[in-house]
Structures are given as structure tokens and as C-alpha cells.
Symmetry: C3
Subunit: 283 residues, 3 copies
């Protein structure tokens, strides 16, 4: 089924009364009313939708963190899902808000790079700028577009309002240049840490697909952190002893550096300059 | 539409099978079973309600924090919503539990000041003490009224049981004297910090409505923290550079003191005695 | 109603289209996509189920903490509820995943001790190993069985697939020997701390049932922390002044050691070796 027919199916489901899920990814934290205010607005306009919290603990204004999380949950949710992301250091400025469709799901977010990974990974998108204030709350504030603009637009989208009704096409969304797959350097790949998770696992931008070529005479893939080997790429945590470093293909499809039953973030204290490399080991 | 006819409409919706939302605001945290136990009890009695977490990260026993959050989400949710708040340092003592209706939504909470802002802001309330144990779980504990009394009462209320069934009228609810709008001092307003949010923004008790009078010859409103000016009241974060202090009307309608892309809570370290004042600047 | 007829009723409800609740207890934290990925998978397979977060803030790999929380919420949820627990230091190794039924609710979890309390407390269980990959996502990862195996199995179970379809009977589940009720020592009971909650309350393994015998000439039950008395067992927090230590029967039915409006965890700093004892006080 091509992208075109998928789009049609999703639109059809919306028109036929299928009530989609709205997911929320924000840096609003959980001590204030901000997230609940968005939920209240959504359920006032679209009483039957399901709402799924993805995370509200994105580090304040960390667009790269949220972009990764948004991408990871994208396809786990059913077709027709509306993914909302609000990490918005430019709120109140002239930055646009975008509404779009990729791979049969929808996104609403400030146009500040939050869609970088999904834009690069999926094709066939339709993107519009959110401009028609009939879909906003009256008198939107300058500091809480999540409640006053993004939540009501998400709810109207879930109710079946089509993308082009919200505003004109948006041709060149803002994409973060730093969010790319690792690059080749000879027969090695030089990558970096794109996400650190709760367990202290370091997710790199070296994807399993990039390792698929056969290497004659190789004993396996050797993984190096800032030039120092941490051993061969393994299959699972139990391939090493407690407290040992290990690199594996993680659940996101990327090479991850971990410490079994401990934190790789603590052991390696990675910075933006930390290089994680992988190369065939030859005898 | 007056308050009276709104009340009637909400009652009507409940009787007609409209299943309301129950929101939860507590200081129970998220590492234990407490919140989920309440949800299980609610869904056992009222299987069709939606449950919305507002926050469970109210600082332990911080009634003022919860009172502000409860007030902020109040009207974002649809008419008929049941707002539950449990911050309850007096659990097991003789403090009452109240059930009430304000502005077409319902509240259930210990009678300890949690409703202060909504009681002062909305009229036309009906308040009852929760006393009839037929709506409780059998043999309520002395330490977890949230699960054993408040959750089942909320579920029965959502099922259409009317307020007066839960107990006798409660005439004088406990209100916190500290939770009031700022007071005038000549042509200035002297306020204080009533809420600090996740981003370190300082929400004051100076409301935009209090600034509405025209000031002849004024260049704008000057904002002072403990007597020291931080500049004129602005419209949006982008009116100042990164790292600069800024005061704006925030999304709650109050003057807020922020630092662009940083924390005002860290910069100003406000205490209960910190005075935030605002006055017309004249040349 | 015996356990047998309860089982039949639950099965019947599932077959008749009653959509159960799925609860989630994990150590995945809330900053990543892990929990939301599970929810997306569940709603893709079983679009009508309700999902209740119990906690995702189990300390990383703390099976005992999760086992206690799972047990506490077990019966608060309606019959037919599917309780999912994922704290899984052995992911990717040969540890089994179990699916079972206790007291009219279902459980899915790694077989590593998470069911210890419910297994010891409830009878009549049916337990199976999860082995049939037709109920998994295609190509499960080695590091995220929560998304790839446990979430889809939970959703299929909610859809009415019966236990025996997932795999062969599992006769001897892994149980943690440390999770037991306190033992008698003469006329005293010697217990330990099995859970520390958000407020710093210390939940012991001394259950109220164990105190039910009459003690001639006793003035009440005296509670001792590492041999030092903290007074008699009380009914409620308000029996002591602010800042005083107090022991009560907590909402879980166990003796709890607290400090009124403060943290017993801070005051007593309990370790695995801390002994909480209770004995009749005689004049």
C-alpha cells in the first residue's frame, strides 16, 4: 500500500467517526497545571479521543531530546494518531506552528526542529502552517500556545478537520542539522550520542542498517568511545558480566553503549564532542 | 446563561448518562501505588469515566501549591468534570471532607484550604460535608482517605448521585488567608509570589485586571523585585535577550517574573517575604 | 463465590466484549519513549482498553519495590484487569516471561520474583510461560521485551485470548525469599522494612492480622526500631505532635513507622539490616 492510499485511509477513518489517539510530548514537567490544561481543552472539543502522555520530562527546551522521543513512538501508535509535541523556547516570537502528516500519522508542533527525525525518515508528507484562529481558543496568551493554539488544533484535527483548513502549505520546515545518521570514515563509522535514557544507556546515531555489509576477514564490529575500545558489538546484556561495558543494537535500531546493571552515562560522561566509532576488527 | 441554569445543565448531563471526567491533583508522588489505587476504585464503581492526572507532584503537604493548580485547570475541563484534590496533612483527624459545585464543575477535597482560589473566584457554589459512609469503601483506613473515601465518592458523583446525598451542607469552608490578590499601595500594587513553576517562572498575585486603569503620562508599568526595578512590563519573552529578566502577563492572567531561557527562581530565590511590586513609570 | 466461579466469570466477561483495564508498573522512568511505545502497541491491538499507569518510577531494577506496588494495587482494580509489570534486569537472557491469573485478575511479567507477594497471598492461580511468538511483534529486540513481547501479549489477553494459548504451564515461578511476613520471636514479632514511600513512611512486613491475639495484662503494642522504643502503636497521625515518631497500621494493613509531617526514612535511615519489632508492653 503506497503512501497515497494510506493517507486516504487515515482521512477516511477520521470521517467515519474513528476517534484517534492524541499523544503529548512536552517539557512542561509534572508539578504544574500545564499538561492538564491541554487535556481539558482537548476533551472539551473532542470528548471521545484517547490521550496518551509520551513524556513531559523533556529537559527544559531540549528540542533534540523531544525530536528523538517523538520519532521513536511515531509508528508504535495506530494509523490516524495525532502526535503533539510542545518544546517551545520561541513561544510568542514569530516562529510558525506546523501541522502535518507523515506515514499515516499526524503531527502538531512548533516549527523549530522537533520533526527533524520524522521528516528525514518518512516521505510523502503534507505540511501546513497553523494560522486560522477560528481553531484557537479566544485571545491566545503569548506564553502558552500549547493550551491556547496547539491543543485546540489537535482536537479539531482529531474531529476530522483536514490539514489545509488550518493554514497555507509550509514548504521548508526547520530541521536541525545535528540530527543525522553517523558518517563513514574509511571502513569505520564515526558517530555521536543522540540520546541518553533513564538507565544511562547511550544511544548513538549509528544505525544497524549501516553495518549490514559483509566484511571479509573481520572478527566482528569493534566499538570505541573517544578512540578507546570497549570490545566487540554484542547481542544482549547477558553477554557480559555485571558492571562491564557493552555495545549492542538497541531497541531503536541504533548502536547503544551500556554498562550492565549500571549507567554508561556515569561511566563515560559523554559531551557533544564525544565520538563513538565502530569498525571491523581484523586479526 | 446564569450560574443557576448552568448547574441545572450539568445535573441534567449526569442524569442523561453523560460520563464526566474525573481529574486528580495530589501530593502522592509517582513511586508508590497510591494514585493507581484511587483509579482502580474509581473504575470499579464508575467504569466509563475518563481519568485525567493533573499532578501528583505537589510538594508534600503544600496546600497552597495544589490550590493554585486546581484553580488553573478548573475551567479548562468541560462542564460536569469532577475535580479531586488530595493534599491532606490532617488525614485521620476530625477535619471534614467537602464535596461541592462551582461554575458548573464539581470538587471533592479535604476541607483544609484547597478550594480557596476557586471559592473566591466563582460564585453560586453548593457545598456539602462528606459523611454518609454508604458511599465509602468498607472499613476505611485512618491514613488513606483518598482511596477509601474520596475516590469512591468521586465515582458515585460521576454516576449521578447528587451532592446533598453525601452529607449535610457545609457553610464555612476553610480558606487560606494568604491566598489573595495583591493590594494597592498608592498608585502601585504590592504583590508576592504565589506559585513557582517547572521553568522557574515566578507567578505573582498581581492580576492583569488590576492594571487596567489608564495612567496619564505613564511610560508603562515598571516591575520591581524587593524594590529593585527589572524593567517595564513586556508582551513576550522575545522582547528581551537570552538570560535577561522579564515581567509579563502570564498564561494564568497574572504578572509573572521570568528569565528568558533560564530560571527566575534561581536568580531571585524568592521567599514568603519577597515583594514584587508594579507601578507606573513616569519621566 | 469461590475462586473457580470467579475465574469463569472473568473469562465470560472477556468473551462478552467487556474491555478490561491494563495497568503498567515499570522502572522505565518518564523521560524516554519506552512507556508510550508500550501503550501504542497495546492500543494498536486492543483499541478499546483503558490503560492505567501504576508507576514508572520503580528504582531501576528494584524487583522488590515493584512486587510490593503490584500487590497493593491488585484488588483495587475490577475483576478482569490485566496487570503488567516490567522490571527486567535479565532481559535478553533465558529468563521466562509468565502470564497468569490470581484472584480474578491477570498478570504478565518477567519470571523474576515480581509476583512473589501475589503468589503467596492469593490461591487458585493458573500460570503459563509466554512462548508463542504469534502473539509478539515481529523480530523482537533483545533489550525491550516490554514493547515487543509483553505489551502485545497483554493486548491479546485483553482481547480474550486464553492463558494456555500463550505457552505451556509454568509450575514453579521464581519467588523472592526475602518477601515474607514477619516472624514470631516469643511474644514479639521481628520484622523489617519492605517499602519506603514518597513521604518517607516505612512499611514493615508485620501485618495487622499477626497482632490480633489478646494479650492479658498488656497496655498495648510497643514498637521498637533496632531495639529502641518509639512508643505504643497508635491509631492516627494526630495522636502525636508534629515532628514526633509514630507507628500505626497503615493503609496496606501493615505496621508503618512514620514521623508526623516529616520523613521517617530521613530520621531512621533504614537499611536491609534494620529490625522493626513489636511486642506487648506490660507494666
Amino acid at each position: 500500500m503506497g503512501v497515497r492510499s494510506q493517507l486516504t485511509q487515515a482521512t477516511l477513518d477520521l470521517k467515519m467517526g474513528f476517534m484517534p489517539i492524541i499523544t503529548l510530548t512536552t517539557d512542561f514537567g509534572t508539578v504544574d497545571h500545564y499538561v492538564a490544561s491541554m487535556k481539558g481543552v482537548i476533551w472539551t472539543i473532542a470528548p471521545e479521543v484517547k490521550i496518551a502522555d509520551v513524556t513531559h520530562d523533556v529537559p527544559p527546551q531540549d528540542i533534540a531530546h523531544a525530536a528523538f522521543v517523538l520519532w521513536q513512538v511515531w509508528s508504535s501508535f495506530p494509523a490516524g494518531t495525532v502526535h503533539v509535541a510542545v518544546v517551545d523556547p520561541g513561544v510568542g516570537s514569530s516562529r510558525a506552528i506546523l501541522v502535518g502528516q507523515y506515514a499515516d500519522r499526524f503531527v502538531i508542533a512548533p516549527d523549530n526542529g522537533l520533526i527533524t527525525w520524522i521528516h528525514r525518515d518518512f516521505g510523502g508528507q503534507a505540511l501546513h502552517a497553523v494560522e486560522d484562529s477560528q481553531y484557537f481558543l479566544p485571545d491566545p496568551s503569548n506564553t502558552f500556545h500549547g493550551r491556547d493554539i496547539i491543543a485546540p488544533v489537535a482536537a479539531h484535527l482529531a474531529n476530522g478537520v483536514s490539514l489545509e483548513r488550518f493554514g497555507p502549505p509550509l514548504k521548508t520546515p526547520c530541521l536541525l542539522d545535528s540530527l543525522r545518521r553517523a558518517s563513514c570514515e574509511g571502513d569505520a563509522l564515526g558517530g555521536r550520542v543522540i540520546h541518553i535514557d533513564r538507565f544511562g544507556n547511550l544511544v548513538t546515531n549509528i544505525h544497524a542498517d549501516q553495518l549490514s555489509r559483509e566484511e571479509d576477514g573481520s572478527q566482528g564490529w569493534e566499538v570505541l568511545v573517544n578512540g578507546k575500545s570497549i570490545g566487540l558489538l554484542r547481542k544482549t546484556f547477558s553477554d557480559v558480566a555485571d558492571g562491564e561495558s557493552v555495545a549492542m543494537i538497541g531497541s531503536a535500531g541504533f548502536v547503544e553503549v551500556s554498562v550492565r546493571n549500571d549507567s554508561a552515562a556515569k561511566r563515560f560522561a559523554p559531551t557533544a564532542d564525544t565520538v563513538i566509532a565502530i569498525r571491523p576488527r581484523r586479526s
